[in-house]
């Protein structure tokens, strides 16, 4: 862990009686694209504002490049923030906005001009350098805000919901661009977002936060494939769940005796180390791992649950629907549209849902 960019140690922030950030510890590596993902009110914005120095922690410490940030005001921190609203200076041109940070550092004029030029090239805004922010489109304003931070070559670039104000198409495009630029400049990026696809696509690693706490930290595939708790399972992707108790645990394999759905021979699951028979758990399965077969077929090796289609709709690349498999248990299904545009199953039809035991993730109920 020699190459740490940010070391957050047991950080606490109270807003009145509420714990906005609850003993958060995180290590962010140099050159990493790290995201803080969570619903609004999860504390991720408070955390970001403490990194920038706009809020003061009630306890704990933040180290950037090994140096404690306690008592260091925002204008003396080696970080630059890309604001959600961009906060571009409306009375300055694009080039003046980008030059602002370097002017504050009192760099020589020649160097400022050179670095501003290079950064405007990087975000492809060289031809708009003399425009005022109000004369730019949303995507262009976003790029100016990014350039204004990057030009200072800070130790850390902070991004607050960077793509939230853009429409869907532009968002996709900027997402790619942001990732490319980050790879080019090689700076540490810390990004706050509530948009899970965005976080998965952009990040090298991410932390899922809820109610001021970090629920899990890992690479996107770790969080999606092996969620450690239901918060992560539900927030990152769609989670189809069935509750029950473990039985016949042996050599990392076992059976789930489901409590809310009926299953002829139990559900085979891979059991994480440390869980024994009799423990109440939830098994969660991702929709795209489920095979849908019309009618109530007998399973052949794989896990199988029977249900009735409640809704099914067409979204182009696939069909998405809801299948009721128990009194109050509904699963979301995704049926590929790889072969034809015809409806795979009808509403009200009985179906069988099958999946491999390795695709069910066991989460202990605490």
């Amino acid at each position: 862990m020699a190459d740490l960019s940010i070391d957050i140690r047991a950080l606490v922030k109270r807003h009145g009686a509420m714990l906005a950030v609850d003993h958060v510890s995180l290590q962010i590596r140099r050159g990493e694209f790290f995201s803080l993902l969570g619903p609004s009110g999860a504390g991720k914005t408070s955390l970001l504002r403490m990194l920038a120095g706009f809020e003061t922690p009630d306890a704990g410490d933040i180290l950037i490049d090994g140096r404690s940030m306690a008592g260091v005001p925002p204008n003396r921190r080696p970080v630059n923030l890309v604001f959600q609203s961009y906060a571009l200076f409306p009375h300055m041109s694009v080039a003046e906005n980008v030059a602002f940070g370097l002017e504050m550092k009192r760099l020589p004029r020649g160097e400022i001009a050179e670095r501003v030029g290079a950064t405007l090239d990087l975000v492809r805004l060289q031809d708009k350098r003399d425009r005022l922010p109000a004369q730019l489109s949303g995507g262009e304003q976003q790029r100016v805000a990014l350039a204004r931070a990057l030009v200072n070559r800070p130790a850390v670039v902070l991004l607050d919901e960077p793509l939230a104000a853009l429409d869907q198409q532009l968002r996709q495009q900027m997402q790619t661009e942001l990732k490319t630029i980050q790879a080019q400049v090689g700076l540490t990026f810390v990004c706050v977002t509530h948009h899970q696809e965005e976080a998965l696509a952009l990040s090298d690693r991410l932390a899922v936060m809820q109610q001021g706490r970090v629920m899990q930290v890992g690479r996107p595939e770790d969080l999606y494939e092996r969620p450690e708790n239901l918060v992560v399972a539900r927030f990152v992707g769609v989670s189809n769940e069935v509750c029950g108790t473990l039985a016949d645990v042996q050599a990392g394999e076992g059976n789930l005796l489901p409590s809310e759905v009926s299953s002829s021979r139990g559900i085979r699951v891979s059991v994480p180390a440390g869980l024994q028979s009799g423990v109440p758990v939830v098994v969660t399965v991702r929709p795209e791992r489920i095979r849908i077969t019309p009618g109530h077929v007998a399973d052949a090796g794989a896990n199988c649950l029977h249900g009735v289609v409640e809704t099914i709709h067409y979204i182009g690349s696939e069909w998405q629907g809801v299948v009721r498999i128990g009194q109050s248990v509904r699963w979301t299904i995704h049926a590929s549209n790889a072969t034809s545009g015809s409806r795979p199953v009808a509403i009200g039809a009985p179906v069988s849902l099958q999946w491999n035991s390795a695709d069910g993730v066991v989460i202990p109920l605490t």
Partner: protein, 255 residues
């Protein structure tokens, strides 16, 4: 519906006529060749010439300009920091201070005049042009505060954070970001305060010392000795100047 439209139009037309007809008559008669104000005897620049050579009147005009310039400067120097301070304040203190600052806007001007007069007498400050300057500053301060705050409230508070994030000190943030953005509002407020000061009669009447005759006071004393077309000419000049200043002020507000 159509009938209603005509009614509304005529009523607003009457309203406008009621407001501006006297001023138009005044301006027209300032070009009257006659010695008497009431009858038209042909076009002439004569009264503007008389005006230009009336030493006492020009002295009063100079007084008025001085008072307006000084009181406006004073009010900007006090009002801008006050507005910024109010904007930053949180909690109950803000409400209280706000009310205290803005109350003079609704106080009857006569009361204001009497109060200021009593105050100056109490602290043994002899009435002079200086007391007029202070008096004008007193009623113009809320005007400046209201206008500058309106602008400050529209500013994104993130802008100051952005400046600070980019390495600017508090002073650099003010000088490079906040001030350029509120400057139009400050200019607009200053022009309005200047105009109000130039036109003020009541407070000036109470707090002006001997020899500290401003233009409105001079006009008042002149009409006591009969309506001369010279006053028409003077008033026309004032109307033009006031309109120009208010126009400029509006222009700065829009920016």
């Amino acid at each position: 519906m159509r009938g209603q439209g005509i009614w509304l139009q005529s009523i607003s037309g009457l309203g406008i006529a009621f407001l501006y007809l006297p001023i138009i008559v005044l301006v027209v008669f300032s070009f009257n060749a006659s010695r008497l104000s009431a009858t038209w005897q042909g076009f002439s620049w004569h009264w503007y010439g008389v005006l230009w050579h009336d030493e006492a009147l020009l002295a009063a005009a100079a007084n008025s300009l001085w008072v307006a310039v000084l009181s406006t400067s004073l009010v900007v120097l006090l009002g801008v920091p006050a507005a910024m301070g109010l904007e930053r304040l949180r909690g109950r203190g803000r409400q209280a201070l706000e009310t205290i600052f803005l109350l003079p806007l609704v106080l009857p001007e006569v009361m204001m005049g009497v109060a200021l007069l009593l105050f100056f007498v109490m602290i043994h400050w002899p009435l002079s042009l200086a007391t007029v300057v202070v008096g004008h500053a007193a009623f113009n301060l809320p005007v400046v505060i209201v206008m500058v705050r309106a602008r400050l409230q529209k500013l994104d508070p993130r802008l100051e954070e952005a400046a600070s994030d980019l390495g600017a000190s508090a002073w650099q943030t003010f000088y490079r970001v906040t001030w350029p953005l509120v400057r139009p509002a400050v200019l607009g407020a200053a022009l309005l305060a200047f105009t109000i000061s130039l036109d003020d009669f009541i407070v000036t009447f109470f707090v002006a010392g001997p020899g500290a005759t401003t233009l409105p006071l001079k006009v008042y004393s002149m009409i006591k000795s009969g309506l001369s077309p010279e006053i028409n000419a003077l008033s026309s000049v004032l109307v033009l100047a006031s309109m120009g200043l208010v126009g400029l002020s509006l222009m700065f507000q829009r920016r």
